[in-house]
Symmetry: C2
Subunit: 199 residues, 2 copies
């Protein structure tokens, strides 16, 4: 699905690794992910889903990153670094995506405004997540490993469009520099964008 950070994650990984893949469009906004055919691929009714062999499907964006990237330089060899990379990826799902991505979804597709209760409620924890990233980047260039890793891919996806969720990055210069480091990697391609209703 265009505009989805979770769908962007595996694409970004494969682009950085220079590996081919096929993007199959699924229209989540029009209920396609709740249809019988899709639910056979992912009973949770969510994109992305990786078809890693004919008829074999893997859901959950960060699990897909592990599966596709575990044999690459974006998955460190040291078990403690592997665990730290996974730690940031769990944190992304529990303490970042649930505030920033969901605010963005509400504003882009859910008819919410900056004054909506659901948006206001997510503001403080979303800012806390960005603050946590800013503090971490004060002492490190990357998340969890000494070079770019799967954790950076996972966190880039929704952080680089946080502004669309009402979270300006003006006060987060280290986060902005890190975003630029990721976007400067060979092979980098931006997130796919869908059609928008004209404002």
């Amino acid at each position: 699905m265009p505009d989805s950070g979770n769908c962007y994650k595996p694409c970004l990984l494969m682009d950085l690794l220079g590996r081919p893949y096929e993007w199959i469009e699924v229209d989540a906004l029009n209920g396609e992910t709740r249809g019988a055919e899709f639910l056979q691929k992912n009973p949770a009714g969510r994109v992305p889903v990786l078809e890693y062999a004919p008829g074999a499907y893997l859901p959950e964006s960060n699990a897909i990153l592990f599966f596709l990237g575990r044999d690459s330089e974006l998955w460190p060899e040291d078990p403690a670094e592997q665990a730290a990379v996974l730690g940031w990826m769990f944190w992304e799902q529990n303490s970042h995506e649930v505030w920033i991505a969901t605010s963005r979804f509400g504003l882009l597709f859910g008819g919410a405004t900056a004054a909506s209760e659901d948006i206001i409620r997510r503001r403080e924890p979303g800012l806390s997540a960005l603050t946590r990233m800013e503090e971490h980047l004060g002492g490190c260039s990357w998340f969890g490993a000494s070079s770019i890793s799967l954790a950076d891919i996972a966190l880039f996806a929704y952080t680089h469009v946080a502004g669309e969720g009402g979270f300006s990055l003006d006060g987060f210069p280290a986060v902005r520099s890190w975003l630029e480091r990721v976007a400067a990697r060979p092979g980098f391609r931006p997130m796919r964008r869908g059609k928008r209703p004209s404002a």
Copy 2:
């Protein structure tokens, strides 16, 4: 911290593996996780944190499970099964813990009641998570692998006390059977419980 499902996860894993560990009490309810000494161990200010070597710390309960269990029979050898196990662990953090554990925390420690807005708001997505588990267990005995894995440990922690979050398991017989299968494993020990204000 007693009563914390996230703190229980690594204990349950080590108990099932028959491996020794030391539990160091941290009083999150009285602000100890926001103190300078603790923030050096986990700048996110949350328990649990694993000290895996003197002065070396790893936060995030599910990352700790990976680190401690990656060389055990609870981490499958097949990469697709590994990814499926991680997928359920990411799902636990994004689609289960954020509804069920947080409702439970509010009711046990946050002064919330069943009529609180924060509890009511979490009811439908929490029930959806349990329904998703029930459906999965209709066709499988475990989550992500053909035998018990780290995903079962991660999901057991807050599911077995879902009732304390206002989520009765009466309508989820397959979930109850799965909980019994986990609790019947050799070495199983229940979650530590803290003192409660008398009702």
